[in-house]
Subunit: 347 residues, 2 copies
Amino acid sequence: MGEGRSPVATPITVAVDAMGGDRAPAAVVAGAVAAARGRDLRVVLVGPETAIREELAQHRADDLPITLLDAPDVVAMAEAPLAALRRKRRASIRVAADLVAQGGAQAVFTAGHTGAAVLTAHATFGVLPGVERPALAVIVPAPRGAAILLDAGANVDCRPDHLERFGVMGAAYATVALNIDRPRVGLLSIGEEAGKGNDLVREAHGLLAAAPVDFIGNLEARDMFAGQADVIVCDGFTGNIALKVGEGLVEAVEQMLREELGAEVVSQVGALLTRRAFARFKQRVDAAEYGGAPLLGVAGLVVVGHGRSTPHAVETGIALAARLAAGGMIGRLGRALERGSGRQAAG
Amino acid sequence: MGEGRSPVATPITVAVDAMGGDRAPAAVVAGAVAAARGRDLRVVLVGPETAIREELAQHRADDLPITLLDAPDVVAMAEAPLAALRRKRRASIRVAADLVAQGGAQAVFTAGHTGAAVLTAHATFGVLPGVERPALAVIVPAPRGAAILLDAGANVDCRPDHLERFGVMGAAYATVALNIDRPRVGLLSIGEEAGKGNDLVREAHGLLAAAPVDFIGNLEARDMFAGQADVIVCDGFTGNIALKVGEGLVEAVEQMLREELGAEVVSQVGALLTRRAFARFKQRVDAAEYGGAPLLGVAGLVVVGHGRSTPHAVETGIALAARLAAGGMIGRLGRALERGSGRQAAG
């Protein structure tokens, strides 16, 4: 992969799956143009060449370091990913990953089918030593700063030892993404006591307590946004539910606040201030601001964006991919996992 | 139980576990006094008699239909419920359930240990025909009206057939609690397509599609508060996580809005209006407003309140218990389950 003990040479090239997401390729191309403009990074747009070229022509992008790589096939959001990937050998996500494997780029960004991205990354790059299941790590807001939540949806059915690895990988990622020395790792559950939770969580609790991380025990879901943990560990089904409830509730809050304020004889000033305040709050919560989740545990850098990614989300996702590549994230993760296994064996 | 084909005679007597919840007995006694005042219901406060009597003396309650029933033992929130109940034969939750079993009351309200309440209800009343796992059903807000979510935490590990029964019971409860003729039943998952979800959800999808309910398929967690389903089915771990994320996020929204508005040069008018609007919004979301979740599937009426119940939440929980008893909820649920099994056998 080129990531050794020292950071990768810049500028980073990001292979962007131009066909990923509900608004592809328009939103992806627009986001890629914005990412390449004014940042020290290069973009390779991967997808059906004619369509991408036409889309790119909508932008003044001739002077930008953006190139095209033809990939005629697309894995649609509703497809079963394994079957689709077997059939579609030249799907955009595969061609993008192959480019990284061949050294032509240092990271993949896709806002497409999460399952297809996970399977492709696994098959193309393999996993880091000690990892069985890669996990998607998202950044969630906290009162001061942010926290990492994983798995956000790569593994809908997990074993306790998978959750233990998520804790180790999440802690390693937090040192890179949040710049925290000793990240506090919490296990998402329905009560703070060690005995609270389902079978999966109860068993994972013991494994995480023995893992080489600063484990603070169970974290109640109501404290997910309270900043008590820097790393929040859960299976991908639970993580996805928790995140999506959050997204949906922010929308519901917005609508209900509007209704409630509308029911008042409200001064234009008050309403305007509230709208502006809410818009800023929403930015903090909105997935669009964070743009993407790295797939931790594979031996190549893949950042998965939200399927409903806006151009701005694509832009920040590509920037995140470049930043993680430049910081040698895969290498750091690999070393953290090695230390983890060592300590475990010693313990 | 006394619930036959016709509604139970009023006034209803509710056996209230006076030692349930973080603020017991003060919050429970205060809530019981409020519930008995101005409503056509009677309350039996169950707990250590001297302590309850002292607490009751703080209120002007001499003229209210409130009596005391001594129960010296308490199951604490941190205890393992099965062991605690074996040891504590005169725990307040058991004595309260026994009173209902003996006909001295028609419903139990507790804001105490959920696990202890579930085990006690199961042991004391048994389950309705066709039910293996009782489920806690909570009411969640929707843009217009409300929806039922179950299981909210009684069963942290479920099988697909449990979820199918939750759908049938939830639909029957929705006809009573929400006054809806044909409740739309949705299965909480991470994607709308039938194939999306973990193993549990994928198998439950097929069973619910064949069940005698108006099944609308998977419901994405982001749409939990959007009013697309009247009944939201999930396992108790997922349900509890989803609800608690919602609670926590409302608190986080409140704090962040306050910070954001504080960061503006904001007119006092604007801030005041926002606070008032938010307070009203919070009432709609807050568990305190709904006060309690009936345990569906046991052959006796038990309403479980939030462990952090305020006096107001206790009051509405007791009122809910009385209303469900007066409406013959157990009988209606039993008949809905019978119809369910009949159609299943025929199908």
